[in-house]
């Protein structure tokens, strides 16, 4: 079983990693896209003044 790892995925806005597993014939058997990054705006923006979200969220 051959495994191809693309880390990081480049030339895109964001963090990404791809794992591809090949079968005996060299064809793609399974492939996984992973995002190895989280900052958590969903949580830390909660409870903040609504007018400030317009200034916090552009930094997402």
């Amino acid at each position: 079983m051959k495994r191809i790892t693309i880390d990081p995925v480049t030339r895109l806005e964001g963090h990404g990693k791809i794992e591809i597993f090949l079968d005996e014939n060299g064809d793609v058997k399974t492939a996984f896209f992973q995002v190895p990054e989280l900052r958590g705006f969903e949580k830390f923006c909660q409870g903040r003044p609504v007018e400030e979200l317009a200034r916090l969220m552009p930094r997402i």
Partner: protein, 320 residues
């Protein structure tokens, strides 16, 4: 003679800093002609494996934006530190933690539990990602999500700091031009103006003033005048913030949120600004002080928006 090697990396960041490197416009062409860019994930195709191949200190300058919030970011910034002669922190996240640093008010478990189990749009029975996941073909790995957000200088030694959220392209160009010319000042050094945002702000103060009420932008609109926003009662962090941005926000009727950080003689910017708030607002009794604090709905998010991880408290005290 070979051209100096430059690497650019982003950790926990939004990509705004990379965009601002591009926003140096035609100056970028001169800089790109003078250096060899050897790593820049957002713009060019290099892999982490390529980084390992550099000799120690082979890269002349590494510019890192973003905070450090997981094990992969820690690994890469430490690797880049080893491979580089000079490291520069670009943007508020790398310099002092930035907006992602507001997550220091929560534990990693609180963050993951909400984000992967409880938001309105989360699928039922979802689980937070694990650092290792077995599949029938092999094990997939993800970085460990830390309990705390770190600024770059809390993880590695940093020679130069270019603050701002995002950093002004003029300062980025200035730093890169100084690097190309071999004229960077002795480290550590901040690439900022030597005054405060107020000195670049065209608004006017009438003199000594008192603030009777702190106004929220949701309920009050700044006057259509040239009057100082702080004097109007909006919490503008201009007096406590280094210049260099050209007072962009106050010019657009928005109070300064302090993204250019603090002056170097200040230990804790939030604490320092609380004394400014207290001296402007004539609160004497406990009730008056309570009324004043009630007028500021998010003290942490206002005074530590860009530097909670590098403040004295660093965030919520966590047990693990």
């Amino acid at each position: 003679m070979s051209r100096p090697k430059v690497a650019i990396y982003w950790a926990a960041s939004c990509g705004g800093c990379d965009t601002k490197i591009l926003d140096t416009d035609e100056k970028l062409l001169d800089i790109a002609a003078a250096v060899d860019i050897v790593f820049w994930p957002i713009a060019m195709d290099f892999k982490y494996a390529d980084l390992e191949k550099f000799a120690d200190r082979e890269i002349d300058l590494t510019i890192i934006n973003g905070a450090v919030r997981n094990s992969e970011q820690e690994h890469i910034v430490k690797l880049l530190r080893r491979k580089s002669k000079v490291v520069a922190a670009l943007g508020a996240c790398a310099v002092s933690g930035g907006i992602p640093g507001l997550a220091n008010q929560f534990t990693a478990d609180e963050m993951l539990d909400y984000i992967y189990r409880k938001t309105l749009t989360t699928e039922p029975n979802s689980q937070p990602p694990k650092t290792e996941t077995e599949t029938e073909d092999g094990v997939l790995t993800l970085p460990k999500f830390y309990n705390t957000v770190f600024s770059l200088p809390q993880v590695i030694d940093v020679e130069y700091f270019i603050p701002g959220c995002p950093p002004p392209p003029s300062l980025i160009a200035k730093a890169l031009e100084l690097f190309v010319a071999g004229e960077l000042p002795p480290p550590p050094a901040f690439v900022v103006g030597d005054k405060s945002v107020c000195d670049e702000c065209p608004r006017e103060r009438t003199g000594k003033f008192e603030v009777k009420q702190w106004k929220r932008l949701a309920t009050h609109q700044p006057e259509q005048s040239n009057k100082c926003l702080l004097e109007q009662g909006f919490l503008c962090l201009g007096p406590a913030t280094p210049s260099g941005c050209g007072a962009l926000c106050p010019k657009a009727n928005m109070p300064c949120e302090g993204c250019m950080g603090k002056s170097q003689d200040v230990v804790d910017r939030g604490a320092k600004f609380i004394s400014t708030i207290a001296s402007l607002y004539p609160a004497k009794t406990e009730e008056e002080i309570k009324k004043m604090l009630d007028e500021i709905p998010d003290l942490v998010g206002t005074l530590y928006r860009f530097d909670l991880p590098s403040s004295v408290l660093r965030g919520k005290v966590k047990k693990s």
